[in-house]
Symmetry: C2
Subunit: 342 residues, 2 copies
DNA sequence: TGTTAGCACTCCTTACCCTTGAGTGCTAAT
DNA sequence: ATTAGCACTCAAGGGTAAGGAGTGCTAACA
């Protein structure tokens, strides 16, 4: 257990390092307001804190920088109790500007979030666990091609073009769509394939000539190729941080950011609420010297989305956590208003 | 007019510099195959070429690097005659893997193109000049909200959610959509607004109660917010080039790449075929020390798209032009096959 | 007249040394 | 328990010297 004084010194060092990115020396601390100790005393305390694993040195005679354990302690015990979900007006304002699409809200949130922090914002669109099919539409484009359109009860639209076998009758196609609409409306998106197999295929067999081949074409419509949508804001913002003086680091970082599904895996979490992952705590090697803070938001009660900020381990934890808290609830509210009568 | 020997030397210097990114000295050239001149002679020629504006020095006693005028000459007179649109098999293979969406073809092309060159690929989706409206659909989600869906004759789908005024009758809404479909099917997307104003509004006035307010809501559906779709592949690839040793350059480059509409403006051109823009020739300041090579491709004869590669002025012009030629025709063919019966 | 060898000169790059300053750890005094 | 003092360490920056790549010019040569 740390003494009150060690705690204070640890806090000062981390705050200072977060601000300046330079190792913090004993003299700087001794001059701080609220500190009436000499540099020598501070040095002793710092030496103890290093032995306990909360601080590190970059070389023998350098000042101290926080270790990951230090950051962890800082997040869990020093700032956590002081954070309150502040309802910043700007955010409320931005989030409720009368958008009509989830996409817009989420994209805007990512941009604003990144701008406010200079870190990279990553937002996962609402998951589709609980969305249900509202309607299937089929728009013929020509004799041999058509677009199929799926609409969910949340207003999300998926579409896909496909070819129609040469000898297939238009009337059969129509029958298929009718059957599908009749049977599939209200079915959760994730169960579509299953319900089709169990309940719809035998019906189609009865009414539709040559249905097997037709189904091969239609089934493409139901294959989800993109499980979650990923929105990223301010990739280049993060590169302003002094941590990126090294060009190789920039490149490896950007390579990761090009793979959306990798990003999704990175951010995804089962936990509710705020989740802080510091350095090595991250699952993916490539960002083991970054910190990632995520929060969840909700649409319509059941659908969950994730909103996160990726920055250097030397991150403004307090600010980011406060912001994420605010965004999480504002987004939930904005999306609730959008769907309140659906 | 350059002598044959000057031409040869200019070509060697540019080829060498493209390859190594280092200034080229007279000795290196004198040792090349096909050169039986001493370094001193080469030096005289180089001096002349510099005076003519085709070469530059980085400092008084350095080797030569090509000037932009040099690159321009190289592109126009040295390599241009030797380029033939090679039908590389890999490209054909990649481009015709049985995609069903334009999006997929274009996105894939951007990725492959960047991978083959280590430059950044930028592709503008087919322009909508000539696409026509196929159908408008309205899917009600609840009493007070609905999704409207526009399908074009090329299978492109646009959609938008909107709220329904509380006191509006469902039957009125249906009437509106019927009128719209009846009158707008086959109308070019770009003329939609106009045709609505001229031909549709007075019809609606007759049949639909309180149509003015309804129209306010519906009109949102017809506003194009994204004129062209932009696909980018391999942003980070380009950063591997030695030109990016300077971190500031990286940052300014990435900032540009975040603004899709800026990119679109950058790449857009009215010219058909291959178009090479070297350094200062580019419209936008931010990339005045890059080169941009673009080619056009076609969908369905009339729609035009642009496909481009952005790299350092020290670009592998020959390779890129050959590749773009090949991709341009392969994409045109792949997209033609997709739509041949529409 | 075109080509070439030779040489002095320029400038970049790298290595090395030296100095400076920030910071530590330890000891002894308070 | 705290602090002043001091020796020590290391990074960063400036200055200089050596090495090397390359040029331009001159004079000789074919």
């Amino acid at each position: 257990m740390l003494t009150k004084r060690q705690l204070l010194i640890l806090k000062i060092i981390i705050d200072e390092f977060i601000d300046s990115a330079h190792p913090v020396g004993s003299r700087v601390i001794s001059k701080k307001d609220g500190i009436s100790l000499s540099a020598a005393t501070i040095r002793n305390e710092m030496s103890d804190l290093e032995e306990l694993g909360y601080l590190e040195k970059t070389h023998t005679s350098s000042g101290r920088i926080p270790s990951e354990k230090g950051y962890r302690y800082y997040v869990d015990h020093i700032i956590a109790p002081t954070i309150k979900s502040s309802n910043i007006n700007i955010i409320k304002h931005v989030m409720q500007e009368g958008y009509f699409e989830v996409e817009q809200v989420v994209q805007k949130a990512a941009e604003v979030l990144s701008e406010l922090t200079n870190y990279t914002a990553i937002i996962l669109g609402p998951e589709i666990y609980d969305t249900k099919l509202k309607q299937i539409q089929l728009v013929p484009l020509s004799d041999h091609s058509a677009v199929s359109i799926l609409v969910t009860d949340t207003g999300h639209v998926e579409h896909r073009s496909f070819s129609i076998p040469f000898d297939m009758k238009a009337s059969d196609l129509e029958k298929m769509v009718n059957i599908l609409n009749d049977r599939l409306a209200g079915v959760p998106i994730l169960s579509l394939q299953e319900v089709i197999q169990d309940e719809v295929l035998h019906l189609m067999k009865r009414y539709v000539t040559d249905f097997e081949r037709a189904y091969v074409y239609l089934s493409k419509v139901f294959s989800q190729d993109q499980p979650v949508k990923v929105y990223v804001g301010g990739k280049s913002n993060l590169l302003l941080q002094p941590e990126f003086r090294d060009v190789n680091k920039i490149h490896s970082f950007l390579s990761i950011m090009e793979d959306e599904q990798e990003i999704a895996r990175l951010v995804q979490t089962s936990k509710e609420g705020i989740h802080v992952r510091i350095g090595q705590e991250n699952d993916i090697d490539a960002i083991k010297d970054f910190s990632l803070i995520t929060a969840t938001y909700h649409v319509h009660g059941d659908q969950k989305g994730t909103i996160g900020l990726l920055g250097p381990t030397r991150m403004e934890y307090r600010k980011v956590i406060t912001l994420l808290n605010a965004f999480s609830s504002e987004m939930t509210e904005a999306l609730y208003l959008m769907y309140k009568d659906k």
